[in-house]
């Protein structure tokens, strides 16, 4: 690739992305009256009320807590289930391996909205409706396959000799996972965790439908507010800005590994 000092196209693209985000920030400091009555680029009369509301009314900030709980649960379960499977896909030969591996991607093709009715039924029947566990499990159907795909690449990138020498050293499969494999592919595990986190954090159809009161996440509350009152743009903007924070922190932590090219690209 030719080296370019100033990637003009990329800069213009990023500028295009930032304009609506700037508007989101601007909206969050405006009063509702200002938003619908006058056009101002910067808030004319800046207010912190929108943010104050989120942090003082418990149903709002508890929404973040609920979302945080099921996202963490989901990421842990997804990785726990996906890592052994990724290892098996990488290291053993079995019939139907390739079709099985490709068909994992097909789970990602099931739109959450298709799954709402059957999941509601299943979680009602099992008594898990309106719990964090329900949402965490539901989100596994798209996160486990993604995690397997990402982790398989990382396992395949380390030479099989490492497994052999570990087994000569007397490691059982379990201690090999804990002492050798996981530390070696930790960066990729972080990348997989980031993707699971992201998909679970922004998903709102299932998380809204599978919860009522006890586990209602922030997106569900936003939906409800938005459907009741036309507008409330300022509050919604403030809520979404706060919602960015964990994702950005997580992303900054893993971005170097992400940019090394997660190895789905090696095919």
């Amino acid at each position: 690739m030719k080296s370019q000092r100033w990637p003009i196209a990329a800069l213009l693209y990023v500028a295009f992305l930032l304009v609506p985000l700037f508007w989101l920030v601007s909206l969050s400091f405006k009063t509702e009256v200002e938003i619908v009555q006058q056009f101002t680029i910067w808030p004319h009369d800046p207010t912190f009320d929108n943010f104050l509301l989120i942090f003082t009314v418990s149903s709002w900030w508890m929404g973040y807590v609920h979302a945080g709980i099921y996202v963490v649960l989901n990421v842990s379960v997804s990785l726990l289930v996906a890592l052994p499977a990724a290892y098996a896909f990488s290291r053993s030969e079995f019939r139907m391996k390739k079709p099985l591996f490709v068909s994992l991607l097909f789970f990602r093709l099931l739109a959450p909205i298709i799954m709402v009715v059957p999941f509601t039924e299943i979680f009602y029947d099992t008594g898990l409706f309106d719990t964090h566990i329900a949402v965490a499990l539901a989100h596994c159907y798209f996160n486990v396959p993604i995690a397997i795909w990402i982790l398989e690449g990382a396992v395949s990138a380390i030479p099989p000799e490492m497994d052999q020498s570990a087994s000569i050293d007397g490691h059982s499969l379990l201690s090999f996972f804990g002492r050798v494999l996981i530390p070696t592919i930790a960066p990729t595990i972080a990348v997989a965790a980031f993707f699971c986190f992201m998909f679970s954090w922004v998903e709102y159809v299932l998380s809204g439908a599978l919860t009522a009161v006890n586990a209602k996440p922030i997106s569900g509350i936003m939906m409800r507010v938005a459907s009741v009152s036309e507008g409330d743009y300022g509050v919604l903007a403030a809520v979404s800005l706060v919602g960015f924070v964990p994702g950005i922190i997580f992303f900054i932590l893993v971005r170097r590994h992400l940019l090394q090219g997660f190895s789905i690209g090696r095919a």
Partner: protein
Amino acid sequence: MITKVQTLGLLAPAVLMLMVIGVWPLALVMFYSVHENFGSDSVFVGTQWYSQAYFSSNFQNNLLRSIGFSSLALAVELPLGLFIALRLPREGRLLSTLVVLMVLPLLTPNIVVGYLFKALSLPHTGLLTWVISIIGVDLSLNNPISAWCVIILMDVWHWTSLVVLFAYAGLKAIPEEYYRAASVDAASSWAVFRYVQWPKLKLMLSIAAILRFMDAFMIYAEPLAVTHGGPKTATSFVASAFFQSKKTQFELGFGAAVSVTCFVIVAVFAFVLFKLVTKQSLAT
């Protein structure tokens, strides 16, 4: 080498989980789609729900709009995303800053994106309305063409970065030697793209295309927030069948039939694209 029993043990948790929370719910949807469902009772009705859906002009129009919308979205996002990925610097501070900023839209929940673009195109006070008025055009969501432009722009804003990331990961997987070999041969930049970059890129791009197609085809919350599906039904898409049918138990089967249909369309699209890409890479 791990034994057969170990392999089975390693795969079991994932397979079991996907059976219970992936295959089973899908099977339930398929079951609903061929039954009349009353509470816990159900009577087999064959293809009744399917024909009810396929013969309704509402569904047909929504389906056509969904296909049109997802094609347009892909037609903009794939080339744009690829172009940006090719123009990104290979490393350095600027790259990581640009990438962090590019990921921001991906971290925005769909519903927020919907309300953000609604706010951007508010009459008189929206930023987009203001920008468009500078070039002398009146942006109004009551005009079907304007409404379509806004939701396409919204989707491009939200998702092009996903294509950039996938394409960029594909580019990063190309060893430096390939470029050196190409420059020894004095290959034109088009030749480098065609014979060095494209073969590595196309799998990544097709995965991005599949993911984008599915999401765009099933788009639901965003147009609902921006336009409420209007003016009239101009921005009402195939997924609108679900919230119409969610109100009453009676139409569970109808929603299920639409679900199965949508899933089949997306799966066929993915399958064909995947076959095309993998076949070609065997041929070259």
